[in-house]
């Protein structure tokens, strides 16, 4: 029986729902000291002396450290890199020295018996700040001297690419559509904030860090860099994680402080941040402004795209900060066969917390920009937006398709996704709906958008073991933080090994136990981690084949793997299970490392919205999603990803925005001011899958983790623009708050 493709319920939910899961803060090693940070109240200031005597003398305090104390012990986080781009050597420091560059930046750290004592003592640290003007805007005079980083300059990321005859296409174009967009910063807001527990064993010089992270590999590599520590002397253990959404991919610099203190004090040091710290100091997502031009022919063919992107990267770079805007840049031609493109990206330093990947990580920005542009072009040309898409989509027989900007789309059927979503959302009724609404004095709009999800790529590894007693253990380099890896990986392994999913134990998260890997991000776990399991299982089978032949009294080449057993095809009575083989062989164990080029999931999204003209309130009436993530391993989990991603995308449309005031203070630093959607605001979401397997991995699977977050803001943005257009009002950028919509409807003159 095959299990891949079945909607099995998540086996890990028993643990989560009964409170048996153990998150970072559930661990309290004996004698652990607690860490709290002194954080800058200023967005930009020169940092003079930091007086710590009073804090050191406070009750329960073991140590207080400043940036100067750690200078010889740590270096900043690596700044990362992007292909063909220039990324300034401006990695996030562990503790600030000389200057602070955002509100919430850690200046000093206090370790005490309790977190309360540590926080009390942190308040006694006296910092000599000389406030400087904050810089919040990404659009500034390129000739102006740098505000934040005198040494590297404030343009921390630079990337340009021009392919095809862009100028010629614009010169020959029938129409040129021009628009600018602003996508605000968002907060990832996982239920469980960040944290780590560092423990040091002096006898073996082993530093063990339990860390709320997306997987152990990147903390291992990044902390190795920051601490100058050999990876053999470093062990990362990731416990159950209460959400990350990209925000726990790069290690928090605070973890390095816990590590140094654990070594110095020779006792466990725990940092479990509170919600305010998470709002102020965890990296945010998005934050992009764009100026875009699209050249179109009279027949509606898109000829070329030009764009300038300004990414609000914040005060420093995390290793992944440059990745999201680079992804936006590379994906700007979206699902369309646009032959020429020229994109310039600049990541500008601002006195705000840095940005980094957040669910979608550059893809939602790209989808929003190109899909809004397509609708603008449709209006300009008087062509139905759906029809204009059909004329320009990359056709199903064009794969593998290399885009103008140079990425190769592996597989897909974009028009089928579009057809599927139109039928899911009852698009044939849209004209009637709009008319009825208009007659009743209501403002209704509808919009569609294509979603392109760059996923997979790089490599992942897995180990599969069957003990002589028949215990089946899969150890994976991929790591869960809420997605359901244990269930999906057990399904994959069960099919490959001829056992039931319940027989498979999935182990993850401990760098001392799992094989090396790249990480859980970019919707890559099934495609990469799952494929590694498939290959490791195949290696186990190959290992067992000679033993099976012996047991079956056959020659090796006579033995085939049939319906989950080794069998002699000519004689149905001669078959042996892999467990029986393992028992005879004294156990089987094999590893595999799987790598592939990038994969590109795709999808079409649709939204129908209503705006209450009198108060400007936006109500999303329904959403629909048709996703091609290749072969679906577990449709229940996949649909969960679509719905979850859609709701996060909807939050971005309705309410979410990290707001800074003119002095660089974050005004949305609690859930009272930064609201997340609840079930009340979530409309019906219809989801369907179009399964076009990728040829790039044995499962045929692509990724599904981000589709909703990518497609929904673009579809809702188009639907809102559609509704506003009936009143002659131009489209707006999210969040579509009541105030913004009301002003647009009532103050446009």
């Amino acid at each position: 029986m095959t299990h891949v493709g079945l909607p099995l319920r998540r086996r890990e939910d028993t643990r989560f729902l009964t409170g048996a899961a153990r998150y970072l803060d559930d661990f309290d090693p004996e004698g652990a000291l607690q860490l709290a940070f002194v954080r800058s109240p200023h967005a930009h200031a020169r940092l003079g002396t930091v007086e710590v005597e009073a804090a050191r003398a406070a009750s329960g305090v073991s140590a207080v450290v400043t940036g100067a104390d750690l200078a010889s012990r740590v270096q900043g986080l690596p700044a990362g890199s992007i292909e063909d781009g220039v990324v300034a050597d401006c990695g996030h420091p562990v503790l600030a020295r000389d200057k602070v560059r955002y509100v919430g930046e850690a200046v000093a750290a206090v370790v005490a018996r309790t977190r309360a004592e540590a926080e009390d003592a942190a308040e006694l640290v006296l910092c000599d700040y000389e406030p400087l003007a904050p810089i919040l805007d990404v659009r500034r005079d390129p000739a102006a001297p740098p505000f934040l980083h005198e040494e590297t300059g404030d343009d921390l990321v630079r990337w340009t690419r021009s392919r095809g005859d862009v100028d010629g296409a614009f010169a020959a174009a029938d129409r040129v559509v021009t628009a600018s967009f602003r996508i605000p910063r968002l907060v990832a807001a996982p239920i469980e904030p960040r944290g780590a527990i560092a423990e040091y064993d002096a006898s073996t010089d082993l530093l063990t860090i339990r860390c709320s992270a997306q997987e152990p590999h990147r903390p291992l590599e990044q902390l190795g860099h920051v601490l100058g520590r050999d990876r053999e002397r470093l062990r990362i253990v990731v416990p159950d994680v209460g959400g990350a959404f990209g925000s726990k991919g790069a290690v928090a610099p605070e973890v390095a402080v816990a590590a140094v203190l654990a070594i110095d004090l020779n006792c466990p040091v725990k940092w479990a941040e509170d919600r305010l710290e998470n709002f102020l100091a965890a990296y945010q997502g998005r934050g992009l402004e764009a100026e875009v031009e699209l050249a179109v022919g009279a027949d509606g063919r898109m000829l070329a795209l030009r764009a300038r992107l300004y990414s609000d990267v914040g005060a420093y770079l995390y290793p992944t900060t440059a990745v999201s805007p680079h992804t936006t840049a590379m994906l700007l031609t979206g699902a369309y066969a646009i032959p020429a493109a020229e994109v310039e990206l600049v990541g500008v330093a601002t006195s705000k917390v840095p940005t980094g990947p957040y669910r979608g990580a550059g893809r939602p920005e790209a989808a929003y920009i190109i899909e809004r542009m397509v609708d603008l072009a449709a209006r300009e040309l008087g062509i139905d937006p759906v029809e204009l898409r059909r004329r320009n989509l990359v056709s199903r027989d064009a794969f593998p398709y290399e885009t103008a900007l140079g990425w190769v789309y592996d597989s897909g059927d974009y028009e089928r996704c579009l057809d599927t979503v139109l039928s899911l959302v009852n698009a044939e009724n849209w004209d009637d709906e709009r008319r009825t609404a208009q007659d009743e004095g209501r403002l209704v709009g509808a919009g569609v958008a294509m979603a392109l999800e760059r996923c997979g790529g790089l490599w992942e590894s897995a180990a599969v073991e069957i003990s002589p007693e028949g215990l089946v253990v899969v150890r994976t380099g991929s790591s869960p933080h809420g997605q359901g890896h244990e269930t999906a990986f057990a399904q994959i392994a069960a099919d490959e090994l001829g056992v039931e999913p319940d027989d498979v134990e999935v182990r993850w998260g401990d760098s001392a136990q799992v094989p090396p890997g790249t990480g859980t991000f970019a919707s890559r776990s099934i495609a990469m981690g799952g494929s590694a399991i498939v290959q490791a299982a195949a290696n186990v089978r190959e290992q067992g084949r000679p033993v099976a032949a012996q047991l079956l009294g056959a020659a090796e080449e006579e033995v085939a793997w049939l319906a989950g057993r080794f069998a002699v095809p000519e004689d149905s009575t001669r078959a042996v299970t892999l467990r029986e083989v393992a028992a005879a062989a004294g156990g089987l164990e094999a590893q595999a490392r799987f790598s592939s080029d990038l994969l590109f999931s795709s999808g079409a999204y649709a939204a129908v919205v209503e705006i209450d003209e009198t108060i400007g309130a936006l109500r999303v009436l329904r959403l629909a999603a048709a996703d091609d993530a290749g072969r679906i391993v577990n449709p229940l989990l996949a649909e969960g990803q679509v719905v979850g991603g859609s709701v996060q995308g909807l939050g971005q449309c309705l309410v979410e925005e990290a707001v800074y005031d003119e002095s660089g203070q974050l005004r949305t630093a609690s859930f009272a001011d930064y609201s997340l959607l609840t079930a009340v605001e979530v409309p019906p979401i219809a989801s369907a899958f179009v399964e076009i397997p990728t040829p790039l991995n044995p499962l045929g699977a692509k990724g599904i983790g981000e589709g909703g977050a990518i497609g929904v803001p673009a579809a809702v943005g188009n639907a809102v623009a559609d509704a506003l257009a009936t009143k002659g009002v131009a489209g707006l950028d999210p969040p579509f708050t009541e105030e913004k919509l009301w002003r647009a409807l009532h103050e446009e003159e």
């Binding site: 509100v103 926080e119 006694l124 102020l280 002095s663 203070q665 974050l666 009272a672």
Partner: protein
């Protein structure tokens, strides 16, 4: 952040003006503030205790009378404070303009340019703006008593005096958070009743 408020004091322009320039007397009228002269002319040192919900923050700092335009009846104060514990700061430039109102009363137009850093800054602009109106009302009635009653008008600031922004914010909070606030009030009421303690519960930070 710019705040603009108006209050009407039942006192003459001249009386109100004189009181306004007497900074310690003004401070006495300001809930939560205590101020003493620094020695330097026009400079006063003092503390201000602000209670925002369960968090009481004490600011220490200096207030300076920057400018007093006798003809135009405009007085400008500059206030700079730092949290006594913690790292937040508050700076304000407060411009008071006096104009005659009906029946011999005086209208005080207060324009405040306020910059707050630290935890208080993260409470959200809405609350601070909503609160400032109520705060000014309290201030006005105490200032009025000060003007009319002279030195004996109000008792010297007591040590426990605190600007309870939480209670001043009650209206706006209720508007914003509706039933949650009501529920909280009900629970608080039950706790207070059960313990037979004073109705005003001041919860110090942590």
């Amino acid at each position: 952040m710019k705040l603009r408020n108006e209050v009407v004091v039942a006192a003459s322009l001249e009386e109100t003006w004189r009181t306004l320039l007497d900074v310690p007397r003004v401070a006495r009228a300001l809930p939560g503030a205590s101020i003493e002269a620094d020695g330097a002319e026009g400079v006063y040192r003092g503390t201000m205790r602000v209670k925002l919900g369960p968090v009481t923050t004490e600011y220490t700092g200096a207030a300076t009378l920057e400018d007093a335009d006798e003809d135009e009846r405009v007085a400008t104060f500059r206030v700079q404070g730092r949290e006594a514990r913690g790292h937040g700061t508050a700076t304000a430039t407060i411009t008071n303009r006096l104009v005659p109102a009906e029946e011999g009363a005086t209208r005080v137009i207060v324009e405040t340019e306020l910059a707050i850093t630290g935890r208080a800054a993260q409470f959200g602009r809405g609350i601070l703006e909503d609160v400032s109106g109520r705060l000014l009302e309290q201030f006005a009635s105490r200032l009025e008593a000060e003007v009319l009653g002279g030195d004996a008008g109000v008792p010297a600031a007591v040590k426990e005096d605190v600007l309870d922004v939480g209670s001043a914010a009650w209206g706006p909070l209720l508007r914003r958070y509706g039933w949650i606030a009501l529920f909280g009030a009900a629970v608080l009421g039950l706790v207070v009743a059960a313990r037979s303690r004073k109705v005003i519960v001041v919860v110090e930070r942590r």
